[in-house]
Symmetry: C2
């Protein structure tokens, strides 16, 4: 289970603490969707001065987590299920581009070996602890694999863009795994995902650009499966950081 543990921040610059601090408040749900963030209140809660807090707010607004209010100031952005599904589709599309470019232009052999090594580790992990038991290990390796995919493209522009899309917590490859682990036949989902992983690298190796692209897209759709089920389950959503940002549709009317 992923927990938000605010780790030791000694030595970190104030601006980094502010960024972490505000982001944690949002992801932990302490600040709910739509809620306004007053600078002075944050200054008090985080024990910092206004300057770094202000910088953090501006940063998070550009990142998409906050919304700039017309009168000034910011509020926590409200995300809908459609936002989650579309953002994951977006990630799949750009990962598809990355893999197509890797296939067409040829991927760096060293990077290919690194990605393959990660898949070997996932194979071993799934063998050792299949299903929900090994979800933590799977999540960690899966995230690493997706970072390696972005690098395979050989394009700095594409790599940066992928990084940026994944700044939204629910767009990250392993974001919803903790919640989905409670769903039936979860073990098969993981195994299916890993088969797609292997196929993606094979397609790149064989220079099959269209296949690699299609696989990347379909793979991303695994992540958006059952989004509505997971979001609707308040018990789940509360403990999955990425989902605290999403208002269940029922609560949409209430303010």
């Amino acid at each position: 289970m992923t927990l938000l543990q605010t780790q030791d921040q000694s030595g970190l610059p104030q601006s980094a603490r502010a960024l972490r601090g505000v982001r944690d408040l949002l992801l932990s749900g302490e600040i709910g969707p739509g809620e306004r963030l007053a600078e002075l209140a944050l200054v008090e809660r985080l024990g910092l001065s206004r300057t770094p807090v202000r910088a953090a707010l501006a940063h998070l607004a550009q990142e998409g987590l906050l919304e700039a209010l017309p009168t000034g100031g910011y509020s926590a952005r409200r995300f809908s299920q459609a936002d989650v599904v579309d953002t994951i589709e977006l990630r799949g599309t750009i990962e598809g581009l990355a893999l197509r470019l890797a296939a067409e232009r040829g991927a760096d052999p060293a990077l290919m070996r690194e990605a393959e090594a990660t898949l070997d580790e996932i194979d071993a992990a799934l063998d050792r602890a299949p299903g929900a038991a090994g979800v933590d290990t799977y999540a960690r390796l899966n995230s690493r694999f997706h970072v390696q995919l972005a690098a395979l493209s050989g394009s700095e522009a594409v790599r940066r863009e992928l990084e940026r899309v994944m700044a939204l917590p629910f767009a990250q490859p392993s974001a919803l795994l903790d919640a989905q682990a409670k769903l039936p036949r979860f073990d098969l989902t993981l195994i299916n995902g890993q088969m797609q992983h292997h196929a993606m690298l094979e397609a790149v190796r064989m220079r099959e650009g269209a296949r690699a692209e299609a696989l990347a897209r379909e793979h991303a759709r695994l992540a958006s499966r059952n989004v509505s089920t997971v979001v609707a389950d308040a018990g789940l959503a509360r403990h999955v950081p990425a989902l605290t940002l999403v208002r269940a549709d029922a609560a949409e009317t209430v303010e």
Copy 2:
């Protein structure tokens, strides 16, 4: 021809002036690729205080125009031809996603009519002044059309992402038109582009998602045609804002 005219900024907040001011310095080439931006120097040049200038620098860094130096401070990012080509490919890919979603999910009829109206205007403009003569009008209408395309998707997530990618000046649909207008048979390029515009809307109307997507991608590639030719021509590059950011490959070694 597009010129950077610093217009009246009275009434604008200092932070907006700072953002405009620094961006103009970069796009006009007054600050060249790789050059470091010292806060105090900018404060003097722009006649503002450090706070808004500092905010502008942080903003532009996240936007991708600046690069954060490890020691602190920022430098103007150096873009390669590959960055330009890949970023345009990225735009085409995301516009492809937008059109596919529009086709599959059905686009808002009102938005469709607005986009069609823009195409009618482009038709008229091309009829009146074909080729390089009407490039300014074409550029303006073309930009509007691409904004309307993003809206057709009906997805806020996709629309936002497109907006963000186009924050890089050379990713904008009409960015290189001024320079390309000097190339042979430019009039045919415009006409070809407009035919693709019509085909894109038709595909959306007919719910042909794959066709709409493919068209969007191919259409973006019109923009990256002859990038190397255009970048290599120093006379052209100097007066096209988007190209002052790109170092010609020959100059790459010099510092």
